[in-house]
Every structure is written in C-alpha cells, then in structure tokens.
Symmetry: C2
Subunit: 206 residues, 2 copies
C-alpha cells in the first residue's frame, strides 16, 4: 500500500532506494540518520497514513535584523538561537494529546540528564495535569537502542539529581523504567504502539 | 489571588500598571495590542492558573549561515522565513487537544480568506479526524470584534471560494457562524469558555 503526503507526494520507504542486493539487513548507523530525522519520517508516515498528527516545532529564534531587498524575499541578517520553553514535539492521536522531547547520547552506559531542562520538566508536569501524555524518547546512538520513558519515570531521576544524586540515568535504569522501541523500516520508530499500551494500562487503572 | 509562571515570576495583570484613575474603561485600541499579543497573554494566564497548556509555535525559519564567534553565542547570519505547515497555536485543555490559527483584518465588512492557507485547512481537517478541536480566532481590528469560528464552518466558506465563489466571508457570515469572544481584562481573550460550550454540544450530540 502506498501512502501519500497531504501535498500529494507519495510516501516512499527511504531505505528501499538505497539498499542493494548485498545488504540484507537494514543498517541504520551506516546511513547516519539522527534521532530527529528518524522521528520526522515516523511522524510524516503517521500523518500520511492518517494515524496521528504529530509535528516537531520549529527551532525558536530571536530575530534582530531583517533586510527587505526589492523584488526578493526578506533576509534575516542577525538572529540568535533561543532556548525552547516547551518540548519539541506535540500533536494529537485519536483524541489524546501527545507531547515529548527526543534526545540521544553517545555514552554507552548512561544517559546524561543535562539533555533536558527544568522548564521542559515543568512543561511535562503541566501537560500531565491536563491529562495529556508526556514522555521522552531517548537513543543510545552507539548501539541504536531507543527507549520511550514516560514523564513520571523521568521525574524520579530528575528529582534524585536535584537532591544531589547522580546527574545521569544508568542504562540499566533506563531499561527498567522505559519501553524499548525496536527500530523498524517504516515507520522507523513506531512509538504509537507504546502509547497504545500506555493508554490501555491507564484505562485499566481507572 | 496571584498566579505564578512556572519560573516563579508572578503573573501581573498587564492593564493594572498602565491604567490611571482617569481611564475607567480598558481601552484596547489605544494600547495597540495585536491579536497575537493578546493571545500570548491569555495563554500565559491559562498556564499560570493551571487551566490549560497552550502555546504559540515559534516562527519557522530556514537557517543558511551561522557564525560561531569565540566566547560568545552563535549568530545566525543568513536565514529566511518559511511558510508554516501547521497552525500557529496548539496544546492541551483538560484532556482535549486544541489547535488553532489566529488572524486579524483591518477590513470592516468582510474577512479575507487569503489569511489562511490550503495546508492549514488540511492540517485542521487531519486534527478533526484525530478528535482534536480545531478552529480559528479572527479579529476585526477596527471594531475589535473577536470571533471563534470552528474549523467545520470555516471549511464551508473555503470550499465556496474554491468553487469560484467570493474570496472572503462577510461580517454577517462570520457573526452567524462563529462565537463572539468579549474582550476581557485577564484573560483578554477567554476562548476556553467557548471551547467548554463546543465540548458540551458535541457530548450532547453523541
């Protein structure tokens, strides 16, 4: 089955074109895709297949100077990166509000908490209070292990750090407090399956 | 009661400081607030009071050149404005996904549909299919009349235009197919009240 983007462009499995006969397995690392690229393709796939409407927000920029040349587009001549006040991704999935941050590390044995910021944790807390689903997707890039950690679990390690504890989560802690997401062909990071599971367990608790 | 932003800064009613004893009524036009500024303050108020978590997305920018001077922040030296692929505002309110675009016109008798784009309509359609709540907030700046028009109503006028009909909605059409939002002190544009009403009427239809 072929999916189409809303603009009519067909959705192609990016790997199809590049895999030659010799490469039997899908080698992710070799192709050098970042977590962000994988998630963008996943989200494009979800939109194209009508499963969810989740997008990455634009990078926040403080614009200082703009040139307006005659007969051509405005050019930003001076601008600075701003720290985001929320998480990077949000959207809607079958009536549920979805909100997450995605980060990767080259560390092999632990995930540094400095990848997140206090205001992002606060934002996820607010989202949770509004009955939204907040989480982080983290990747250990050396092994390509990807995990979805619900906000409530992340908060435990965050609080430990704030009380003077370690500034990272060990890989074992991540494994015990997250859901592993197997890397797929398309979508590459099928995190909605985990969300289904989260929703189901929440419903059972009610 | 005083509300606080998540960063601990107290939420101040912006008008309080500026209104002198002589000015009895809140004069919006004089202070030159744009619809965007009013909505940002409204959303800040909603977050500070724990009512909803709704934010404006950053302006999308295509970054071409970045300078990394020693010992100071990276400077974007060349960048261009990109057209947004979604609406400008989204977030979560009591478990409901909220998604909207906000536009104002100086026209007195009609609202030009060119304020919106095809892909924004498509985005709102997708959001509606995912059981999100999609709408537009429009303002006639000369009279300061503000309306919330649900996506489904907007789509009717959009389709009429695409079939060769008029490229705007008359003010009467807006009035008949929208909910007027009275301008308040704080929040300035209390659109959540209309959302409550929309949710209630949807529930009654089910």
């Amino acid at each position: 089955m072929e999916f189409h983007y809303p603009n009519g462009k067909p959705f192609r499995k990016p790997a199809e074109k590049k895999l030659s006969g010799k490469e039997k397995s899908y080698s992710h690392g070799k192709r050098g895709m970042t977590l962000e690229e994988d998630l963008n393709e996943t989200n494009d796939y979800y939109v194209a297949s009508g499963q969810a409407v989740i997008h990455k927000k634009p990078v926040p920029v403080q614009i200082v100077t703009v040139d307006y040349p005659k007969r051509s587009a405005a050019v930003i001549k001076e601008a600075y990166f701003k720290q985001a006040s929320t998480t990077d991704y949000n959207g809607v999935y079958n009536g549920y509000y979805i909100d997450f941050e995605a980060k990767e590390t080259r560390n092999k044995t632990s995930f540094p908490l400095q990848n997140f910021h206090q205001h992002q944790l606060d934002h996820m807390e607010q989202v949770t209070k509004q009955k939204g689903i907040a989480f982080v997707i983290i990747r250990f890039s050396s092994t390509e292990d990807i995990y979805l950690m619900p906000y409530k679990q992340l908060r435990i390690f965050w609080n430990r750090m704030q009380k003077g504890g370690r500034k990272s989560m060990t890989k074992e802690e991540v494994e015990e407090n997250s859901y592993a997401i197997p890397l797929g062909l398309h979508p590459r990071i099928d995190y909605l399956k985990i969300i289904d599971h989260l929703i189901k367990s929440n419903d059972e608790q009610d």
